[in-house]
Amino acid sequence: MAPASVTPGLAPEVSHAPMRLRQAIALLSLVGFLVSLYLWLHALGVIGELKCGTGSCEVVQSSSYARVAGVPVALFGVVGYLALFVTALIGLQPSFLPKRNLSVLLAALATGGLLFTGYLTYLEAFVIHAWCRWCLGSAGIITVIWVAALAGVRQSDRPTVRP
């Protein structure tokens, strides 16, 4: 049997798996943050036109559903992805890597994001009848983050001490 792989600088009982998952979450949430930032800057009028290709970004972003209580929806994305990114980075620190609480927190944040994204995607499909490819991209990102976060919780449920 091959010896268990360990991360240099970490205690030998800590496996690569949680680290890889949190790295993936950090990377994806950074991309999601940039997408949300782009849409938010557009909502603020800093960016004149959305680069949308064949989608209907302007239709979606110009609809009354693009704001919640006057706040651009994209700002929720900026804050949410930033929270995920920072949490994942903290979780990558050697002292936090084995902590189950951080995996649970990541999963909770990702679940909140996934539910909110699900609602927005529903609006695009059945109310606005238009698709914004940036929003769909964000929906894909948060879905993958959610899967990774759940996998992280499952990983942390397993015993980490190796023979």
């Binding site: 940039l34 782009y38 960016i47 209907s56 239709v59 110009s62 606005i128």
Partner: protein, 228 residues
Amino acid sequence: MKRFYWLLAAVLLGGLAWIWIGSKSSGTGTEWVAETKVPETKADSQFTGYVMGSDTAPVEVVEYADFECPICAAWGSVQFPVIKQQLIAAGKLRWRLRDFPLPPTTHLWSRLSAHAVACASEQGKAWEMIDALFAHHRMWSQRPENPEKLFRGWAQDLVGLDMAKYDACMATGRYRGRIQYSREEGEARQVRGTPTFFVNGREWTLRDVSSDAFQHVVDSILAQRRRR
């Protein structure tokens, strides 16, 4: 681990650079889709929108609309006829429609359609032209093909315009400045999307924009006036 942080830094810098470059670039297109800054003329500034309803109506709604916007079309086809029948015809409400063409990235024909309506308005048939555009919305909106011929056909067959005058109006593009002025007026009023409504000068912030909601708001304004 170090390589991972370098990767994060590269993604962050690349993304920010992309956003920065995107914010600097502007749309291009034909004379109709370009957002040219046309000098405001006296005639443009005196135009205050397409008006329907009595001058003495106690409530006025100003709508900022883009004829290519699907929500405007759906709303204009479903909710507006009810408002027209129940509130405008009853003398309770006056409707003022202002152009707010959305950017040409996805709304190539906003300004062309707004200009077709402006040319119909020369002959007193702006609302009929708007109805024709909304009724056939799927045939022309958010498509790459220039719908100028479609508009001309509807102007002739459905609206019944004098086509010599219509053609001359469209050829000169004489209302482009007026449309741009209306857009800039909307921007000054913080209009960010379409349709946006102002009721007696106050922005409609309710999510519900149904005819029932308008009926309720108009009735409450009228009740308030009666109490004074």
